[in-house]
Symmetry: C2
Subunit: 408 residues, 2 copies
Amino acid sequence: MIKVAIMGCGTIGSGVYEVIENNQAVLQKELGEEIRVAKILDLRSFPGTPYEKLVVNDISLIVDDPEISIVVETMGGTKPAYQFVKSCLLAGKHVTTSNKALVAAHGTELLQIAREKNVNFFFEAAVGGGIPVIRNIGTGYAGQVIEEITGILNGTTNFILTKMDREGASFEDVLAEAQRLGYAEKDPSADVEGWDTCRKIAILSSLAMDGEVDFEEIETEGITKIDTADFAYARKMGTSIRLVGSMLREEDGFSVFVGPMMVGMDDPLYSVSGVFNGIVIRGNQLGVTMMYGSGAGKLPTASAVIADIVEIAKNPARNVPFGWHAGKLSPKPAGARLHRFLVRFDGADAAAAQKTAEALGAKAPVFPDGGAEFAVLTEALTKDELKEKLAAFPNVKKYIRAALNGIA
Amino acid sequence: MIKVAIMGCGTIGSGVYEVIENNQAVLQKELGEEIRVAKILDLRSFPGTPYEKLVVNDISLIVDDPEISIVVETMGGTKPAYQFVKSCLLAGKHVTTSNKALVAAHGTELLQIAREKNVNFFFEAAVGGGIPVIRNIGTGYAGQVIEEITGILNGTTNFILTKMDREGASFEDVLAEAQRLGYAEKDPSADVEGWDTCRKIAILSSLAMDGEVDFEEIETEGITKIDTADFAYARKMGTSIRLVGSMLREEDGFSVFVGPMMVGMDDPLYSVSGVFNGIVIRGNQLGVTMMYGSGAGKLPTASAVIADIVEIAKNPARNVPFGWHAGKLSPKPAGARLHRFLVRFDGADAAAAQKTAEALGAKAPVFPDGGAEFAVLTEALTKDELKEKLAAFPNVKKYIRAALNGIA
């Protein structure tokens, strides 16, 4: 029998217990033996639950238990998750985690320890919830130069933006509804400011570039400034607005940003709506692919942990190549990356608007149904070039990135 | 140095050569050694190409060459591909193929031989072109009960249907254009009759059910009868029509069909347009995921072969769990599966149409912009139930499956 310990019995942790019980038959068939949760570390007790008697309060009862070979970390945060995971790895136990904060902050070191101890440190559930994106980068894209990863990586903000788009509702109203529905936290900053997306694209960039990409070096902008007028323009242009994290391999390095982006109807990300996630990966020979699925949620995320557990159980005595290697990689400034931009200006004079459009390589200005303003969709240029050009326009209101391809 | 042989130097075969050359640096980094194509089996010669001198005409020069450890089969068809692949496996060589006909017809036996000889028989490129769907089912969905796979698996027919939808063009006109563009064969039967999709969903079903699903037992219908009026109704209902292959796990077995299906705007398959493929996989704990990408094409398909080669090269001395096991599994009749249906009727009488709609659990009949007919979108029922109900209506023109979820 394979014995698993779970550290942190919140939503994901209890989900892992459930999936192991629910899918025991298929797991036994795949692994050729029984697999059970033997201990659950939590400071709370869970009276009345089927795992009531598995709960322990002391990490050493897991670290020092020779029968436990696989540890699942679903506590979240870095303290004490980092110390606990490190102790487990040093004790020769395999670890799988759903904790993006831990992976983004300490992944490089923990991967290295796992290699040295000949165990595995997996984190399929840390990005994209149930979408098997991390394993895929390592296997499905083997032999491929990954040139770009652009993903809708946060379900909460995607739910908000989709609602704003479809219902013409304001950010504040939809956020309040998302909070009522339990899709958004009481303090929604980590989601709406883009910090969650930032950690996830840092992890994906580290995988694609095979080195440590520090999430603190990634230019990050959230969705709090997106308003109903932005969506009205987007709709008039046959597009929508999504919060993306995006990494682009460049001539001598790579760049990364997190921010809102206009995407056209033929963009595979356009149809990723509600709480779903979608991740576009472009390989140099393979072209564009996308993976779509539940980016969060108890059972989908727990299922990604289970996929890790199965791979560990099939490779109990070896470190399977996974993750990235040591060595810090700094992204190039995102301001030098080519985009198109939606730029909004004050003013209702048609001739002036047309001139503005021409100066920015746009076909024609777009006017709203009401209000003394207009917008243009620029030709491809860098943010730095855009800023330089916009210096000549005192009536600039704001600008939003737009996808380079797929918008008419 | 790892030496590879390619059997069949057509589009995919020459693509494999190209990707190995183009991505030699990344391959060497991943494998820790050089990897080169050593021989290419083809009856033609290729003067002026960089691989001119690699061409051999005799299979025994590959089978008997102890230096060649990996053989790529990209000949297509089953004769002589089956005999050649079998000989290579029996000689202890790993094989990867892009040949869905071979895998659908002989996969079970070839997988078994590979296990006995402790080598690998991989076929990532046989379904979904560059989309790493096959490997994903085995790893990303590990520990999961796969309840449904529904995919747009043929780029040619998807190109045709997308064009028909967007331009209101007829099947015949778009087919002729697709042939001009090289997206459709001169004899397009394998695509437009659904046979290609049939073999692919047979392979995916075999993987999901872990047994041999005979493609000849799958109810298969193509797109030749889809007309502009069908699309006009679909658009009025906020949907589109796609050719899908679909497997559903049922109480005591599974069912499979290939045929046109209406999908709503929130269906992840709705946005899979043009020559792209998209494959929805639903796990019992994971929920819905979709993989999207180039379903065909030289370099995408060759890239999938390369991913196989990398996994082989990393596991040179063992049979990696892959594919399905022996044992024939017969699908249940697809007529017992629940769907909704778009049903078209002759007649323009509003009251009669309303009565028809009610009899089929539809909200209201939909009338075209011209012509003495109407259509209804039924409630959920099986095809067998539908046929029984339609027996009372002598004015039935035709019906098309519609997705159970996602249509208002």
